[in-house]
């Protein structure tokens, strides 16, 4: 045996250094104790000990979404591995590049129901872009290189590398491959010029265009190219939940979000447009409602790197498979500025008639909180949101100026995502404030990460929009189930501010709208630890506008309608199904 042979565990650490990894989010255990031993003398890479493996994966996601780099997780076998499943599924749905290294029992024990054994490869097969079981140490370096390559290229996604204990203890020479070839994996970056030309024809003939942009624009770092296209065409930009930030939310061309809880005017514009250019978006059901009636008058162009996203939900006239940035670089010079003055007149009327709105009063309205955070941070903070009403209000009232500042669980809709994701984001972003918006339900799903945030002096502003309910489910029970509230009241909530203080963070509580701004200002002054603010908001508030699930634009419910009128509309919707 030659002396420059090293163990699998050392190969892992050396490989992560080759990949310029800054942070590992992890949790040790029996099957990875050798790996953790190799980390003892690790330099350049910081290991962040979360307090739950799910928190580690969401933190890696938050880091990846905020920085565009690959997030890295290390956990042990069995329960350590199964605790990562929700985070991996979340990353898969939202195309987040992460690599999750899971410990595994020794190869001779695999299949024996050994202590802390779980078939994590089998479990994660349908929620990963790819996964690997490393059977021999000689394959380890190649596998790690392949894992990072697959996670970060094409349509990004999570990759799992399962590492049996004996493989990580065996020795071999360390050679990190420079490049990697896989005969079954060739992401297609450059759009077909013939298709681009066809798209140009459709766009140039348009009088009422809409750009419908999604998270793909953020993933391909194409915000500048999108900005140039929109400005050249003078075309309105409607963003999906994942697309918020891809285009400045305060720009005059922005229509804000579209879809179920999108703005009235973005949905109206999509309904009436004659040309819809889908850019890095995937015609998700939360956007389209009933796909047969989605944007019925438009000719459609769809730019996406994933061929399987094309014509999956809605048939388009011109699909272009390719990286958004590469495609826009070729497309924008070929399009003509459009005569959209009339179209804009129409859209601006809609904006005036149906703005996003709420009525402020002595009680705290959740919308008001988000609006004030937006104003105080000028739209430049990194904001993670959870799932439900808090997420929709954040999407509506925080006008994200920059890409990679809107971090949320869009596809899987994972409650408990926001706070651990903000922990990861806070490691990646030091020059802007990081806010974590939560409901009083979701915060309780990963509140243990307060320890991680306090221990690392992360100045995250944790905002709880505390209405005492699982608000979005309550809203549906209100509108579609005759207000039969079933297990949605969170009446026995703890005192969140005291919890924060017990963890070593700063805690605030308020139920007065007049205190919102002073408290936020106070919170922004804290630079060395997290601040948790429990805003007790209006209890039974609903998110407007709303297009019922599977509905069409004709069924949109806007803010000022009376509740009885809304129930009528929704009962028609239910009957129509």
């Amino acid at each position: 045996m030659s002396t420059n042979e090293v163990t699998g565990a050392e190969i892992l650490v050396k490989s992560l250094m080759e990949e310029n990894v800054e942070y590992i989010f992890g949790y040790p255990g029996g099957a990875v104790i050798g790996v953790y031993d190799a980390m003892h003398d690790m330099s350049h890479i910081q290991h962040i000990l979360t307090r739950h493996e799910q928190g580690a994966v969401h933190a890696a996601e938050g880091y990846a979404k905020a920085t565009g780099k690959v997030g890295v997780v290390v956990v042990t076998s069995g329960p350590g591995a199964t605790n990562t499943v929700t985070g991996i599924a979340d990353a898969y749905m939202d195309s987040v590049p992460i690599v999750v290294f899971t410990g595994q029992v020794a190869t001779h024990l695999i299949g024996n129901d050994a202590f802390q054994e779980a078939d994590i490869i089998g479990i994660t097969r349908s929620i990963t872009k790819h996964n690997f079981l490393v059977k021999e140490v000689k394959d380890l370096a190649w596998t790690i290189k392949a894992a990072f390559h697959i996670a970060a290229t094409g349509r990004p996604g999570p990759v799992v590398v399962d590492m049996p204990k004996d493989v990580m203890a065996s020795k071999t020479a360390f050679v990190y491959p420079k490049e990697i070839k896989m005969r079954g994996y060739h992401p297609f970056y450059f759009g077909h010029m013939g298709q681009i030309n066809k798209a140009v024809e459709i766009i140039n003939a348009s009088k009422k265009p809409v750009l419908y942009v999604g998270g793909g624009v953020v993933n391909s770092n194409a915000s500048n190219e999108l900005f140039n296209l929109a400005k050249k065409l003078n075309a309105p930009v409607a963003m999906t939940l994942m697309g918020l930030g891809a285009f400045p939310g305060d720009d005059e061309l922005s229509l804000g979000m579209l879809g179920m809880h999108g703005t009235w005017y973005s949905n109206k514009a999509v309904d009436e447009c004659d040309c819809l250019v889908a850019i890095g978006s995937r015609f998700d059901d939360r956007v389209t409602g009933n796909p047969a009636h989605f944007s019925p008058q438009s000719r459609k162009v769809h730019i996406d790197i994933d061929p399987a996203a094309i014509s999956k939900n809605v048939k388009v006239d011109v699909p272009i498979v390719g990286d958004v940035r590469h495609v826009l670089e070729r497309l924008t010079p070929l399009v003509q500025p459009l005569e959209t003055a009339e179209w804009w007149e129409q859209i601006n009327d809609w904006k005036k008639e149906h703005p996003l709105r709420y009525e402020n009063g002595p009680e705290i309205r959740a919308q008001y909180v988000i609006e004030k955070i937006y104003e105080l941070t000028k739209g430049e903070a990194v904001v993670t949101s959870d799932v439900g009403q808090n997420q929709m209000w954040t999407a509506q009232f925080y006008k994200f100026k920059n890409p990679r500042s809107n971090i949320t669980s869009g596809g899987l809709g994972t409650m408990g995502f926001s706070f651990p994701a903000s922990v990861g984001a806070a490691f990646g972003v030091k020059d802007r404030p990081v806010f974590s918006i939560n409901g009083d339900g979701g915060i309780q799903m990963n509140i243990q990460e307060l320890t991680t945030a306090v221990g690392n002096n992360l100045p995250i502003k944790i905002v709880i929009l505390d209405n005492g309910y699982l608000g979005m489910v309550r809203q549906w029970q209100d509108l579609f189930y005759k207000k039969r509230y079933t297990h949605v009241s969170l009446g026995t909530n703890p005192d969140f501010a005291k919890i924060a203080e017990a963890f070593g963070a700063v805690g605030f509580t308020s139920d007065k709208s007049g205190e919102v701004v002073p408290i936020l200002k106070e919170a922004l002054k804290v630079k060395d630890r997290p601040v948790l603010i429990d805003f007790r908001t209006t209890e039974e508030d609903n998110v407007w506008p709303m297009i019922p699930s599977g509905g069409t634009f004709a069924q949109i419910m806007d803010y000022p309608k009376s509740v009885s009128e809304l129930r009528m509309a929704s009962s028609h919707t239910e009957a129509a199904k």
């Binding site: 349908s126 896989m182 079954g184 061929p307 399987a308 014509s311």
Partner: protein, 163 residues
């Protein structure tokens, strides 16, 4: 809904077949038959799947299969000229009286009798799905005890025209 014969080349390694089957079950696609074996290249397995579906479902299936990292090639043979075969073994009840008739049927289908006992015979037959089904229909009145089918295997036809 049309039947499609899809030929998939996949890395011949641990778990690769699982990914293909898992994709069908996870996305609710149906499999009429599946056959797997190595190809001319030891490191590549050829999987032949027969699936029913509308055109857009089949299009999705092919795109999703192509997304699998271990899959190197996917061809929907339905739109090409291709040769297909299936192999079946059928165990049929056979008495002294019926044995000779069964042997005649077997001969007509160019199949072979590979096992015989006082109460049954086992026939091996290969052919297209239609031929194999026709033979089964002919054997049914005698009493079929057991059937084992390989599922369809197929290759693209190389030469289609005249010299």
């Amino acid at each position: 809904m049309k039947k499609h014969t899809i030929s998939i080349s996949v890395e011949n390694k641990f778990g690769a077949l699982n990914r293909i089957i898992g994709l069908f079950s996870a996305r609710g696609y149906n499999i009429d038959s599946i056959s797997v074996g190595t190809s001319e290249d030891d490191s590549v397995a050829r999987v032949t799947i027969v699936s029913k579906g509308d055109d857009d479902v089949i299009e999705q299936i092919i795109k999703q299969l192509n997304k699998l990292i271990d899959v190197t090639k996917v061809v929907d043979l339905t739109y090409e000229s291709f040769v297909e075969r299936e192999l079946i073994l059928v165990k049929v009840s056979a008495s002294r009286n019926s044995r000779s008739e069964l042997m005649q049927i077997s001969e007509i289908f160019r199949s072979k009798i590979i096992d015989i006992s006082p109460r049954s015979i086992t026939i091996e037959a290969t052919g297209s799905e239609q031929k194999v089904n026709a033979m089964i229909k002919m054997l049914e009145p005698f009493g079929i005890k057991e059937i084992a089918r390989t599922g369809r295997v197929a290759l693209k036809r190389e030469f289609e025209g005249e010299v």
